[in-house]
């Protein structure tokens, strides 16, 4: 898919014909994305963030020479660049830079995992509803209505304090994986609506009829033929919602119902730091700036990806 060559593109998608999903289409997407400077920069920032998060441990120990959990009360709240601490230390003398790197791990894991699960749940149910229509559609869309009407922050507060157990699974919000599952379970409705609408439009097209006349079953039509056509909607929805999920996760950590200390997350770093604002402004500002810049990069990349995938949507520029 990657490694675009304009020659192949023009052969596969001659001018004037509607471009369907094919190798050429995705190559065009990559070409358009690379030509959008803002999106390109934000994409690079995202890749760097992912690298830092994945390689957090070696990065912190070999580059920063610090441990995010090592406390030193004789060396707490030191300023930026002092005593070998690149971004200073917090109230317990822990290295802020190292904690920010570990916090990136949490935010990115929750962000991407949640969006992946949203796509899995919302995408599957959206295709089913759009393809079968009728009673299945009405039933699934009412479930979507229910999920979308319960205000997510109230539900997260409820779930965060209850930690309900369903069989062997505890739906707590204190670990990144369970938190991602919880947020995904209450936020897949939007994706389901988008995918359903796209499926409704796609299933009217002739190639679906042709496939069915060749004897393909429902499952084959849905997942081999409809899915590739709705996947671009999913990709756009996913890339635009990662940022929002990270904001929700940080807010939940901040109010004490999310990732529990001592695990460092950007949200709980802010709530720990706020009482020591007089002694160090940077320990409040830095984690917030980290959230802001990450979400900003993800939103702008999502915008670029949307423009690249569907140039018709570019009218707002």
């Amino acid at each position: 898919m990657i490694g675009a060559s304009p020659g192949v593109e023009t052969v596969e998608a001659p001018a004037g014909l509607p471009v369907s999903v094919s190798r050429g289409y995705w190559q065009q997407v990559v070409v358009r994305l690379v030509h959008n400077r803002v999106a390109l920069v934000c994409g690079v920032i995202q890749v760097l963030l992912i690298l830092i998060a994945v390689l957090a441990q070696p990065f912190v120990h070999l580059v920063l020479h610090q441990d995010p959990y090592a406390q030193d009360l004789t060396d707490n709240l030191v300023g930026i660049g002092r005593d070998g601490h690149l971004l200073g230390t917090d109230q317990l003398g822990r290295d802020v830079a190292a904690r920010l790197v570990y916090g990136a791990q949490v935010s990115l894991l929750v962000g991407y995992l949640t969006v992946g699960l949203q796509i899995l749940i919302g995408g599957t149910l959206g295709i089913l509803a759009g393809y079968y229509g009728g009673v299945v559609d009405a039933l699934l869309m009412r479930i979507v209505d229910i999920v979308l009407s319960v205000p997510s922050i109230f539900l997260l507060i409820l779930l965060g304090s209850l930690s309900p157990r369903i069989g062997p699974i505890t739906l707590g919000t204190t670990g990144p994986v369970t938190l991602a599952i919880v947020i995904a379970l209450i936020s897949w409705g939007g994706v389901a609506r988008l995918v359903r609408a796209e499926t409704l439009a796609t299933k009217q097209r002739d190639f679906v009829l042709a496939t069915r006349s060749l004897g393909a079953g429902d499952a084959r039509i849905m997942f081999r033929h409809l899915l590739p056509n709705v996947v671009s909607v999913m990709v756009v929805a996913a890339s635009l919602s990662v940022g929002g999920v990270i904001l929700v996760e940080a807010a939940l950590d901040y109010i004490g119902l999310g990732i529990a200390p001592p695990t460092a997350s950007w949200g709980n770093m802010i709530s720990d730091a706020q009482e020591y604002f007089y002694h160090s402004v940077s320990i409040v500002v830095l984690p917030g700036a980290a959230i802001f810049l990450t979400v900003l990069a993800m939103n702008l990349f999502g915008n670029g990806l949307r423009d690249a995938i569907d140039p018709r949507l570019r009218r707002f520029r």
Partner: protein, 340 residues
């Protein structure tokens, strides 16, 4: 046809409301073991006492019976005296249950906090609209210029900034910092001052920071929409006609452009109606604003789950009804929607 649409739209809301209440109650029942907080920690209460209390609260009944009692689904039978056994009023009769911690009816908690939430969200929305419209017009008129770019950057930032952090930084600056430096400062939280508060001026002063933080998020989104719809309108023929007849650009915008450009924004604001009840929970918590969100949060930290669940159900009900009202209003305003 319009009547049919109204009836159909209302009927659709019923299963959704049913599902919302069922979802909340199911969540609570999964943790029914902890419904009465702290009971097991009290050394003077025996296991037999706990069993008796749970029995009195109806927690030993089957799930469906508990749910129908809580939701009050049997109220016609109860009212007509046809119900055998223990009958209590439920959701359908406006009884949201009692707090397990202090015994207060949840309905009275809602009555004292709902107004505060609406005061905050409505103020934020009004501030958002009042700034978004001129910002959108200015950005569209300077399309591609430096002012447009600055406003675009501001709105992109407004979507990406964590609202709780912005609120915290503003508190630290305008409330804590300013009072330290001997400048006139804003209060750090709450809706009124503890001593001698409660007047209009006092409430307004408390409202400024939380409403501005909340409005920033609305402003970011709405000014973008206003800009793009104003750009659309500026390229229309009737705008050129108006100017060629000698009308100034600004006058043409205010006489002809604005009312056309504002239509998509009105739709968008209508979609935000349900957020009057739910949109501000995090900001309420940051600013200790005594609304439904803060109340739910405090109940959650007190392990008073019946209150959290009842508040969640109430707010979700308001969201469903808000969506219903918004849909019906569109049907009235825009005749094309009626058959949809």
């Amino acid at each position: 046809m319009f009547g049919t649409y109204v009836v159909r739209r209302c009927l659709i809301a019923i299963p959704v409301l049913f599902g919302v209440s069922l979802l909340s109650y199911a969540l609570l029942s999964v943790t029914a073991g902890d419904v009465v907080p702290g009971l097991a920690l009290n050394p003077n209460i025996t296991a037999a006492d706990i069993a008796r209390i749970r029995d009195n609260m109806g927690l030993n009944e089957p799930f469906w019976q508990q749910y129908t009692n809580w939701a009050g689904l049997l109220w016609p039978f109860g009212r007509l005296g046809l119900f055998h056994g223990r009958y209590t009023t439920g959701l359908l009769e406006g009884n949201f249950g009692n707090s397990a911690v202090n015994g207060l009816p949840v309905m009275s908690i809602i009555a004292t906090h709902l107004g505060n939430t609406i005061e905050l969200t409505a103020t934020a929305m009004v501030i958002g609209i009042l700034i978004a419209i001129p910002f959108g017009i200015i950005a569209a008129r300077n399309h591609g210029g430096p002012i447009d770019n600055i406003l675009t950057a501001l709105s992109v930032a407004g979507v990406a900034v964590p609202s709780f952090w912005l609120g915290l930084v503003l508190i630290l600056l305008f409330a804590v910092g300013f009072s330290q430096w001997g400048l006139p400062s804003l209060p750090t939280g709450g809706a009124v001052s503890s001593f001698g508060g409660g007047g209009i001026g006092d409430r307004v002063v408390h409202l400024i920071l939380p409403a501005c933080v909340l409005a920033f998020g609305y402003l970011a989104v709405w000014s973008r929409y206003m800009r793009s719809s104003m750009l659309d309108v500026l390229s229309q023929d009737y705008m050129r006609t108006a100017q060629s007849k000698g009308m100034s650009m600004l006058r043409a915008i205010y006489v002809h452009g604005l009312r056309n450009a504002i239509i998509p924004l009105v739709t968008l604001i209508g979609l935000e109606l349900p957020n009057l009840f739910a949109g501000s929970a995090i900001i309420e918590i940051v600013f200790s604003w005594p609304g439904l969100g803060l109340e739910a949060y405090q109940a959650a930290t007190d392990h008073d789950f019946t209150v959290v669940m009842a508040l969640t159900t109430f707010v979700a009900t308001m969201v469903v009804l808000g969506n219903l009202v918004a849909d019906l209003l569109y049907a009235v305003l825009d005749p094309r929607i009626r058959y949809g």
